[in-house]
């Protein structure tokens, strides 16, 4: 087993990394950089999950997020007017309200974490954890697992139907109204 001080050090590195990169997501001009910062944040959380003994979840999180963030970067480059962030932009609204809400959420949840009284019943060794999860997935929670699968399938079908050129009801181009684009200066102001 890895000695505890090493685990502690790793946790602090991962936690600081997750929070800093998570914050950087909203503080960078380039969309691709934002996606990569978010991926870094997820990777750090994946690392913490592994430290906590939930190896399977940590690795699955990494596996999932790598693909997801690549798609996210591509989607942003596709649709953003200024994906490289060449022109400085502040694409935020209600900044103050949002900051207060974010801080309030943090304080409330942290208070719960600090003040809450959680039972001290540690989980078993990782090997057992993975095995137990497998048995749970295909045993008692089979219904949940299958529901998740069906949900994903219907999501796939729904997403294709929404995004496709031939939309849910006929061609997406028919009968659509294109809004007048506001002058760009107004957006930046």
């Amino acid at each position: 087993m890895i000695p505890t001080p090493l685990v502690d050090a790793a946790f602090f590195v991962f936690a600081a990394g997750a929070i800093v990169t998570g914050y950087r997501v909203f503080r960078t001009d380039s969309m691709v950089r934002a996606a990569f910062y978010l991926l870094a944040s997820f990777s750090a959380v994946g690392g913490i999950l592994v430290l906590l003994g939930s190896e399977f979840l940590g690795m699955v999180l990494l596996l999932m997020m790598a693909g997801e963030m690549l798609i996210m970067a591509i989607v942003m480059v596709m649709y953003m007017m200024n994906p490289a962030g060449l022109n400085p932009m502040t694409m935020v609204h209600q900044n103050r309200v949002a900051a207060v809400a974010g801080l309030a959420a943090f304080l409330a949840l942290a208070a719960v974490g600090l003040l809450g009284d959680f039972p001290d019943r540690p989980a078993p060794q990782p090997a057992l954890a993975t095995e137990e999860l497998g048995i749970e997935l295909l045993g008692d929670s089979m219904l949940v697992f299958q529901t998740a699968g069906v949900t994903l399938l219907s999501t796939m079908i729904g997403a294709v139907a929404i995004a496709g050129r031939r939309g849910r009801s006929g061609s997406a181009e028919d009968g659509s109204i294109e809004p007048a684009l506001q002058p760009d200066e107004e957006d930046a102001a």
């Binding site: 596709m78 200024n82 060449l86 022109n87 050129r165 181009e173 760009d184 200066e185 930046a188």
Partner: protein, 445 residues
């Protein structure tokens, strides 16, 4: 580690590096295409695809003066330490220093390249400074709300770079389009060819070839030295055996470049080696090589199918293998009594797409070697026009000049990889076009 051992390590690093093959980015000027291609077989030289990987810039022959600035830009992209070697050619292109090392045409540039490389690494020769001033394409400093040259979110030219324009993609979305110009020194294209394109994602939605690419260089020879047998055949009878061997070699040289474009670098080098090795009667070797190429999956998954122009569109254009792959039996050789006496029949196929172009050329390579073996001492009987490896060549008209206008319609709508494959499969040769248009040649005919 002490200072001495550190220095010794550095010295041995240098010693090792000195023996490395010289990474050369070669630029083929007028009439030097085959000589530059042959550098791929030189053991001492490694031809690289990008100036970023090169230590030496080798400029062979004379460059179209319109491309001098592009050449300087290639030079400035090379990492230090770097140097330029001029091989043949009479004029030094404008921004280059006249003191550039020269190697006379006809001499092997390898020893000179090795020597310069050695002195560069030794430090006895200074690396070359950039040729172009470091300026932004557009003035932007101090413009706009943040002094970044832009305005708003998508306006202006932030940092001197124009923002992307929108263009419809093939899925009906309006997304950013990327204007891009490749050439005149893109490693996969014949030297001097420039293609201007607009990319929507990986699809070429607009393609243009600028005019004036086949302008002869201001100075220096107007015709390749030595003149190709095809060019001589325009004015005088030439041995059929020589002409057909030259045709087979030209096809193999094209094949070498085209195979490298498909990722088959080793087999491309093999094709180039074959171009040197083969003689009359070697048709079985070519057929065996063709079978080996079939096993690479080239025709099955690498070449785009069904991407040709209509047969009626190129009827009468005399585009050689392209015409014959479209089912048109166009071949100047059928008009030549000497060829008819040999029982020559052109290779005609009905695919009219890139794989068919390849198959026709490969079959013609073998056929030419057969003809060369059968022809004995026979000379051509037709003077004034000749079937070059690319089609009907006349004193004032070349197949490349006729094929260039087809490029935009052939490439528009293709994915980048397919477009590059189609472009290399056309076997364009601007030198031939320059020579044909050269007044000196027209006068002698």
């Amino acid at each position: 580690m002490g200072l001495t051992s550190g220095l010794a390590g550095l010295a041995s690093l240098r010693g090792l590096a000195l023996a490395a093959p010289v990474p050369v980015f070669a630029v083929a000027g007028f009439g030097t295409r085959t000589a530059v291609q042959d550098l791929r077989l030189a053991r001492e030289i490694e031809l690289v695809d990008t100036p970023r990987a090169a230590a030496l810039l080798l400029i062979a022959g004379s460059i179209n003066p319109a491309h001098a600035e592009a050449l300087a830009r290639v030079h400035d992209q090379m990492p230090h330490p770097r140097a330029t070697v001029l091989w043949g050619g009479s004029a030094v292109p404008a921004p280059f220093s006249p003191e550039v090392t020269r190697v006379p045409w006809g001499e092997d540039p390898t020893p000179a390249a090795r020597e310069i490389f050695r002195s560069l690494l030794n430090g006895s020769r200074a690396t070359e400074p950039p040729l172009l001033p470091d300026v932004d394409p557009v003035e932007w400093r101090g413009v706009g709300p943040y002094g970044q040259g832009g305005s708003g979110m998508t306006g202006g030219t932030p940092y001197g770079r124009p923002m992307a324009e929108l263009a419809p993609d093939r899925d009906g979305l309006r997304l950013d389009a990327l204007p891009l110009e490749i050439g005149p020194f893109y490693p996969r294209l014949p030297a001097g060819l420039v293609v201007e394109m607009t990319l929507a994602g990986d699809v070429l939605i607009e393609v243009a070839v600028p005019a004036g690419l086949d302008r002869p260089p201001d100075e220096g020879p107007r015709r390749p030295i030595p003149a190709s047998p095809f060019e001589r055949a325009l004015t005088e009878p030439v041995r059929i055996a020589e002409l057909e061997l030259a045709r087979a070699r030209a096809h193999l040289r094209w094949l070498s470049d085209a195979l490298i474009n498909q990722g088959l670098v080793a087999l491309g080098t093999r094709a180039l080696r074959l171009a040197h090795d083969i003689g009359p009667g070697d048709a079985p070797r070519i057929r065996a090589f063709t079978r080996q190429l079939g096993r690479t999956g080239l025709f099955r998954w690498s070449l785009p199918h069904g991407q040709g122009v209509g047969a009626e569109r190129i009827a009468g254009a005399g585009l050689g293998p392209l015409s014959r792959a479209a089912g048109l039996a166009e071949d100047v050789r059928t008009e030549d009594p000497a060829y008819r006496a040999l029982g020559f029949r052109p290779v005609v196929m009905a695919g009219n797409d890139v794989p068919a172009w390849w198959r026709v050329r490969l079959a013609e390579t073998a056929e030419s070697l057969d003809l060369a073996a059968r022809a004995g001492e026979a000379d051509t009987a037709l003077v004034g026009r000749v079937e070059s490896p690319r089609g009907r060549l006349e004193p004032d008209d070349s197949p490349t000049a006729r094929a260039l206008p087809l490029v935009p319609e052939l490439l528009t709508g293709l994915e980048w990889g397919d477009a590059m494959t189609t472009l290399t499969s056309l076997d364009l040769d601007l030198d031939e076009s320059v020579t044909a248009a050269s007044p000196a040649l027209a006068a002698t005919a």
